[in-house]
Symmetry: C2
Subunit: 293 residues, 2 copies
């Protein structure tokens, strides 16, 4: 791991022939019943420990199943936090396992705080002693440059990447990100401009999150963020299709899907690992069939 | 705990005669040497466990010392995350201890994500089974209404509060929050307007974070956010004084200081607990001396 994140990302996409990023969102109520059984037999502290262990087993199973078809996995920290410190310890194992299986790990944590606090967060994810050593992390830019720089600096020093939120995939994205600026264009365009600038200062480090659910905005975003690797969430369960975003399937851009892959067994029946593998393969093929590259 | 957060907050400020909120930011290198010694004697896993235990002891010591002079404490999750799952488990204990000592606990985590993920975060902090059952949580509003509502709903159902970021205390706040809107005024004013609206929909639940380091903006913010409890960081180490913000010392507003209180022993020498107690008492008195109430 002694090359920039962007180079490692490009290499992973080429090696796998895939732009698929699989979101690891262990929503407890939707986990396979065979896994939940061991949790529901237990109470108190044992229940908490069993739940964390089930998160670990589920995520490892998914990682193993999708490894041939995906370039990256994206654990969503919220679901691990919901289940407490034991689940966050399980996530340490999941990250190590995914990296061992040759997958890039993008921590979806959307952290962001004032400078000296951002340094502590950067330490949690990027330092040599980081408890959760992810290849890249999602970061919220609302607090501005001095809140982002500690992430960028620690990432640069340790060959990691930072995906800044530009335009998110949810309906409420319009509330703040689409407020019209005096200089013309919405807030997200101003933020995208800042991200492009930071990318120049920290080459190979900076990426941007751009919702696949807003193709018109994505077209503009591609322009402003030329050369910045995009992480495009919103595929599958949130509604975006390969055709919607074919023009964005270039460079080192990744497309992310969570529920559509990890809970594919709900639709297909059968083994949850096999269903996830098939769904990841299908998504890879759908994206490659329309890719502009 | 069967009254709204805002009412509980008002009661706490009155009962203590204090608007002081003490930030719990365990920066390892600045902890008292007597505590760090037990960590540095150990290696590997034992080092990690010892560090978490020292965070627990330090924060408990501070909580005990400042309890007579503060209405609330504000653990900053970044510093606990930096030290891994064991430190986050220690934070569970710190939260329980602070509440037992009659302090409100404001989790400073600045979380924020799309709706279904925000639900998971809300579960981590507000649900009856929350691993970190804080009285209130700081939340980043950049993702808009559907990213905020799961926090507000879960908070309302469980008598908790949500502090949305309006204008932060750091220099970089200008980069995004001060972009000028077409309708007039900066982005933060648009966001403050949204927060005021959410406060109407979720009475007793919504607060706002407003940097004490920008008094001119704070004056405007007080207007837009009339009746919304403000959390004012930036006092002390970041540079704001009581005189700067005297006009904002009304209603259920809290002023937060971290380094200036918890590391007061660096300046004063002597016992770190006594130094923190004195600093908290001094801050309470300085605020009360100029309070507009």
């Amino acid at each position: 791991m002694n090359d920039t994140f962007n180079n490692r990302l490009t290499a992973a996409i080429e090696a796998k022939g895939s732009r698929v990023c699989v979101g690891l969102d262990p929503r407890y109520a939707r986990l396979p019943e065979e896994l939940r059984r061991s949790v529901e037999e237990r109470v108190g502290e044992a229940h908490i420990i069993a739940r964390a262990e089930v998160y670990r087993l589920f995520c490892r199973g998914i990682v193993e199943a999708v490894a041939p078809y995906a370039a990256a996995v994206k654990p969503q920290f919220a679901f691990f936090e919901q289940a407490g410190p034991a689940a966050l310890a399980a996530l340490v194992d999941v990250i190590a396992y995914a990296r061992k299986r040759g997958l890039l790990v993008i921590g979806d944590a959307k952290r962001g705080d004032i400078g000296s606090t951002a340094e502590a967060y950067a330490g949690a994810f990027f330092s040599p002693e980081a408890p959760w050593p992810v290849d890249a992390l999602t970061v919220n830019p609302y607090l501005g440059r001095d809140s982002v720089e500690p992430f960028l600096e620690t990432a640069a020093a340790n060959y990691r990447g930072v995906y800044l939120l530009a335009r998110t995939s949810n309906p409420g994205a319009v509330d703040v990100q689409d407020l019209e600026l005096k200089t013309g264009g919405p807030v997200w365009r101003g933020v995208a401009g800042l991200i492009a600038g930071w990318s120049g200062s920290y080459p190979g480090v900076v990426g941007a999150v751009f919702g696949a659910t807003y193709p018109a905005e994505l077209r503009e975003g591609l322009d402003i963020l030329a050369g910045v690797p995009l992480l495009l969430p919103g595929y599958g369960a949130q509604g975006a299709t390969a055709d919607d975003i074919s023009f964005a399937l270039t460079g080192a851009n990744l497309v992310s899907s969570s529920r559509g892959i990890i809970f594919a067994f709900e639709r297909s029946g059968g083994d949850w690992r096999e269903a996830a593998a098939e769904a990841a393969q299908k998504m890879r093929d759908e994206l490659n069939a329309v890719s502009a590259d």
